[in-house]
């Protein structure tokens, strides 16, 4: 029973990080139908930036977090302007390859600046453990869940009520009609990429807190695919629920079955979902199918 609670708790906390990364993914997809293969690299970039500000420049961690988030947002805007905007209207394969190329460039950049070896992250989250139902959970993990939950809540509010949020949903629905009411597609795309970069940066920092900064941080980018497919590519609640399910599934298979099966179970789920319900749990039903 203790193991079960332990697995559940760590599954949920991992799942929240997944959800956070997935949300950035969903935001970009909603606004522009682009699948961002570089999301993991944004995560890594955010983590390294924060690392640099704290450990290399010796800034206080609060300022570092703000600066890293701002830096990532700037990078998101730059990427949208230089890479994605010229490709508006190109086929899917071009979009996919562009973000893949981007991930390669970003990896090279990070490696070139900070070197390929993983570093210890100057942990700024509180240390210590709390006990929940006999299971022990690190305080940092608890905080991660809280912060991620809060962020997801804010994002949901942003899409529901703010002008830009509604505009983004409108664009996802009918591009031309949105344009006819003066919604600037360029501006919305820029906002989407900035948002995606910001969520990625925050996710990256939290992940780095748990596992350190290194190339591994970017691997979460791949793990996010099962999450978004399960939840629905265009749904924020879907990203949260999907993240939680995938996080739990990984922990349970890892804890009870083992053999590294936890690495692969999310992808099996992905294929299963694609075959049965390609729009996921919460996605819009209209999707490309033969």
């Amino acid at each position: 029973m203790d193991t079960f609670i332990q697995l559940t708790l760590s599954g949920l906390s991992n799942g929240m990080v997944y959800a956070l990364v997935a949300v950035g993914f969903v935001v970009v997809f909603k606004a522009s139908d682009v699948i961002n293969f570089a999301q993991g690299e944004f995560l890594m970039f955010g983590a390294y930036l924060c690392f640099a500000f704290i450990a290399q420049f010796g800034l206080p961690w609060s300022l570092s977090v703000v600066l890293a988030v701002a830096g990532c947002a700037g990078l998101g805007l730059l990427v949208e302007r230089l890479v994605l905007r010229p490709l508006i209207g190109e086929p899917v394969i071009s979009m996919i390859m562009a973000t893949i190329g981007l991930s390669s460039v970003m990896k090279a950049l990070v490696n070139g600046i900070w070197g390929p070896r993983p570093r210890a992250f100057p942990s700024f989250l509180p240390e210590g453990n709390i006990e929940i139902g006999g299971a022990v959970l690190g305080l940092d993990r608890v905080l991660v869940v809280v912060v991620a939950g809060l962020l997801l809540f804010v994002l949901q509010w942003f899409f529901k009520t703010t002008r830009e949020g509604i505009a983004m949903r409108a664009i996802a629905d009918d591009n031309q009609a949105a344009l006819s009411m003066g919604i600037s597609i360029r501006r919305v795309l820029a906002v989407a990429w900035a948002l995606a970069a910001v969520t990625a940066a925050l996710g990256g920092m939290m992940l780095a807190n748990m596992v350190g900064v290194g190339q591994e941080v970017s691997h979460v980018g791949l793990r996010v695919f099962p999450v978004v497919i399960l939840g629905g590519l265009d749904s924020i609640p879907g990203a949260i629920v999907g993240g939680a399910i995938i996080g739990l599934l990984e922990q349970y298979t890892g804890g009870y079955i083992g053999h590294g099966l936890n690495m692969i179970v999310p992808f099996l789920v992905l294929i299963l979902v694609l075959m049965i319900r390609p729009y996921g749990l919460f996605g819009k039903r209209i999707i490309e199918r033969v």
Partner: protein, 347 residues
């Protein structure tokens, strides 16, 4: 007086290279290919072998992605199946490699049919993600099916022999590799002007309309997956026998991406583009390497950042081609030819 090239027989019109100029260019190219190994250094010869092998793989992938429009991120998985298939056949069953390679191709084609199954229901992005998952699953199976594949350990296979020649030297392997690449190109060229090839293109351009016109969409997609994987499986087998060491690291998602980069940079849905793209993507790191080596004496830091420059250049070249010349090197080559065609009256 004749004012152009006219065809008087159907056979003339059906020829793959109907124009004298085209035949001349091909002849010159063939000549260069034959002379090359006698003048090139071993280093360049090994690069040429890698280009030849990659060309076969790029042709296979182009068949699926470029001609049929089915995006696949599972190239690495297909290569792995071909490599391990052929390697294990020679290692465990003592088959000669010229037999194990086509068998590995067939095994991969069968795997392609299975991995292609989702394409019956999915397209575009969703198919890309499904093949991504397939890639992850195959990687996992290879690293965990230890008694068969050796897991994460490298699998060492005997070097191939053909007509008594050992193909363990680059010079010897070169002829075999180039011949395979040429055969593959001929195969794709002929396939694409057949009924099957045209139905591939029809599905890429408008699958619903193709279905309405009597193309069996499901079957055609599966045929595309199978033929493509056959070629890719052969590529995997070639890699295995060229290296004589098989490790799973050669067949990861990054490999899939490398091959996709080849056909994007070379030109989607073109045969010469597959070759151009394979050449550029294989040579790019080598070129950067040689530049770095020469710089090393003056700038010692060059060696340290070299791998990152290679990685960055790889990504950058993909983005640049997508933004500036989405039709790739094949289009650039066509532009050059057109320049000459109208010379000196270019405008």
């Amino acid at each position: 007086m004749r004012s152009g090239v006219f065809f008087e027989k159907y056979s003339e019109e059906m020829a793959l290279r109907p124009y004298p100029l085209q035949r001349m260019r091909l002849g010159l190219f063939a000549l260069a290919v034959v002379i090359f190994p006698f003048i090139a250094s071993p280093y360049w010869l090994s690069l040429a072998n890698q280009v030849a092998i990659a060309t076969v793989g790029a042709l296979g992938l182009n068949l699926l992605v470029g001609y049929t429009g089915q995006i696949s991120l599972g190239q690495g998985a297909f290569l792995a199946i071909g490599a391990y298939g052929s390697g294990l056949l020679t290692l465990r069953m003592d088959l000669p490699f010229w037999l194990s390679i086509p068998i590995a191709g067939l095994i991969t084609a069968a795997a392609g049919l299975i991995i292609g199954l989702p394409s019956l229901r999915l397209k575009g992005l969703y198919l890309a993600i499904a093949t991504l998952a397939a890639q992850q699953i195959v990687e996992w199976v290879i690293t965990h099916w230890t008694w068969l594949t050796g897991g994460t350990e490298a699998l060492v296979i005997p070097s191939p022999k053909l007509f008594g020649f050992r193909l363990d030297r680059d010079f010897n392997f070169y002829w075999f590799g180039v011949a395979t690449a040429a055969l593959a190109a001929l195969f794709v060229a002929n396939l694409m002007r057949s009924r099957v090839g045209r139905s591939f293109v029809a599905i890429r351009d408008q699958d619903i309309a193709a279905g309405a016109l009597g193309v069996n969409v499901f079957r055609t997609k599966l045929v595309a997956f199978a033929t493509s994987s056959f070629l890719v499986g052969i590529t995997g087998a070639l890699i295995a026998h060229y290296r004589t060491i098989i490790t799973w690291e050669r067949f990861t998602l990054d490999t899939s991406i490398t091959y996709l980069a080849m056909i994007i940079v070379g030109g989607l849905g073109t045969i010469n583009g597959s070759f151009f793209g394979a050449t550029l993507i294989v040579l790019l790191p080598a070129l950067i390497n040689s530049v770095g080596q020469s710089l090393q004496t003056t700038v010692p830091a060059a060696a340290r950042i070299l791998p990152f420059v290679q990685q960055g250049a790889f990504g950058l070249i993909i983005i640049l081609f997508l933004v500036l010349e989405p039709e790739g090197l094949a289009k650039l080559w066509r532009n050059i030819k057109d320049q000459f065609k109208v010379w000196p009256f270019s405008y």
